[in-house]
């Protein structure tokens, strides 16, 4: 059986680490990822960018509604995911809008965290 393991936590848990703590954490993740990959259990993993980069897409009455921010209502629960390749946010939004669930629920579009980006900021 396959699963999506969803990591929830406070963003400050990450951002408040010292460089040394950060490096140690990276090491641990690297180690863990290698172990499960060697056993053939890793189907894909990513760190996400912070919620400030999130955009939510809904389609209501055939009209696309795009809003800033993460999905945050409590009546809807996580039901699935896609990991897609898109050239920019507009393309990602277009793809998200075509997901049938967007018509009744919400699709949060969050960019994947990329290492070189971290070095630049």
């Amino acid at each position: 059986m396959q699963y999506l393991l969803l990591i929830y936590g406070q963003e400050s848990d990450w951002t408040s680490l010292t460089p040394a703590q950060h490096a140690a954490m990276q090491q641990e993740y690297g180690q863990f990822t290698r172990e499960i990959s060697e056993k053939g259990k890793n189907l894909g993993a990513n760190r996400l960018q912070p919620v400030a980069t999130a955009t939510t897409v809904r389609v209501r009455d055939g009209k696309r509604v795009v809003t800033d921010g993460p999905f945050a209502e409590t009546k809807e629960q996580l039901g699935g995911y896609y990991l897609v390749e898109a050239k920019d946010l507009d393309e990602a939004i277009s793809i998200a809008a075509r997901i049938p669930a967007a018509r009744h629920g919400s699709v949060e579009v969050r960019p994947i965290f990329v290492m070189e980006q971290a070095a630049r900021t």
Binding site: T55, D68, G69, D88, L89, E116, R120
Partner: protein, 409 residues
């Protein structure tokens, strides 16, 4: 040369091009600041170049190349700049042949991208497209400079990190995206027009910026009739700016305004634009509101206002944009077109079928119609009700005045 004035007028052109060349808002702004500094040093001696805009863009671009040579991320950025830049030889900056494409539309659509929060769209547009400083924007919106600065930082960060593309939307998305842009312009205009506290000079400047933005949109998207309709609406409202407040800063309602103080050149322009927009097929909310505004603006006296036509237009507006304020406005127009009793009946209907019991404008409108009917006691009660619900200082003073006038009959 007045650089502040120049920046206000040219920032959209310059920054839109620089952001396109350099791929980053912050970098473009920083390099432009350095280019201004260089201009301040050199132009007094060499004279202002024939094409200051091209000079500044060239200079900023060369400074960006230098910046990247010195910085750690040179490799990452090199291809991007190299694609757009010439070799590093000391360029002849004063080149009249330098023509840069007009990227203002890209900039406007990016600043108004729906993935940005609405207030972020407004702030970013005022800052980058209109060239206002953080201080000027925070003064207009009556929030702290620190808060406004953070808002701008976060907006630019989201553009960068979420991959908001720097381009004019594809044809199939253009209508929706343009609606978002027009809404931002409308919000900016209303901030200046409706705000009743704060510096009145600042408020007028904000209205002027919105109108300027409206003109730019009409220039860059000449086939978009709703853009023309919005510009018409703003010009028509703004034409009354000198008649809307008494010398003491109190509200003067439309029917009591001195029409000699209205700016009739603006009324003529706004009316022509509204007509042109409607002939081109504009039939949205802005077009209808502009038509209503034109009817008011072109009436020589309040008594000559074409109220029946206004009633019809409000009816059409309600079809596409149901809202309590519009319902109330329509009821008031009905009162003027027919009899006060008819308007009152509508207001009573609105009150009974909705949950607008706590809406102060409803009670203020009832109070006014009751006053016209000579039903002073009921009018006073309604004014009191409105007063208990109104929060805006200037409105409250107005209601208190009406209440005391009514009570002393």
């Amino acid at each position: 040369m007045d650089f502040e004035k120049f920046h206000r007028e040219e920032s959209a052109r310059i920054l839109s091009t620089l952001i396109g060349l350099l791929g980053d808002f912050d970098l473009a702004e920083e390099m432009l600041q350095e280019a201004y500094a260089a201009a301040l040093r050199q132009w007094p001696a060499t004279g202002t170049p024939a094409n200051p805009r091209a000079w500044l863009i060239s200079t900023a671009r060369h400074k960006a190349i230098d910046h990247f040579r010195r910085g750690a991320s040179f490799e990452a950025k090199r291809e991007e700049i190299a694609r757009n830049a010439e070799p590093s030889a000391p360029a002849v900056y004063d080149s009249e042949d330098e023509t840069f494409p007009d990227d203002r539309l890209k900039l406007i659509f990016t600043c108004c991208h729906p993935a940005l929060a609405s207030e972020a769209q407004v702030a970013l547009t005022l800052h980058t497209v209109c060239g206002l400083t953080t201080e000027e924007i925070s003064r207009a919106f009556l929030i702290s400079v620190a808060t406004m600065a953070q808002r701008l930082v976060r907006a630019k960060r989201k553009i960068r990190e979420a991959g908001i593309p720097y381009r004019v939307p594809a044809q199939e998305d253009l209508r929706d995206r343009l609606d978002a842009v027009l809404l931002v312009v409308y919000l900016i205009f209303n901030e200046g027009y409706l705000a009743s506290s704060g510096d009145s000079l600042v408020r007028r400047e904000i209205c002027a910026e919105a109108i300027r933005l409206g003109r730019v949109l009409c220039e860059l998207l000449p086939r978009e009739a709703e853009a023309r309709a919005l510009l018409a609406l703003m010009l028509l409202h703004d034409s009354r700016r000198d008649a809307r407040a008494s010398a003491d800063g109190e509200i003067v309602l439309l029917d009591e305004q001195d029409r000699n103080l209205w700016h009739h050149d603006q009324i003529r322009e706004g009316t022509a634009l509204a007509e042109s927009a409607m002939r081109s097929g504009a039939n949205g909310a802005y077009a209808l509101q502009a038509a209503i505004a034109a009817l008011h603006a072109n009436a020589r006296t309040a008594a000559e206002t074409d109220w029946p036509q206004i009633v019809a237009l409000y009816g059409a507006l309600l079809q596409i944009h149901p809202s309590p304020v519009i319902e109330i406005n329509r009821a008031v127009a009905v009162a003027m077109a027919r009899r006060p009793e008819d308007g009152l009946a509508l207001l009573d209907q609105i009150e009974s079928c909705g949950d607008l019991g706590d809406f102060h404008l409803l009670h203020a409108a009832r109070a006014d119609l009751l006053r016209r009917l000579g039903r002073a006691t009921e009018s006073a009660d309604a004014y009191r009700r409105a007063l208990s619900l109104a929060t805006n200082d200037v409105e409250r003073r107005f209601l208190r005045r009406r209440l005391s006038e009514t009570s002393h009959r």
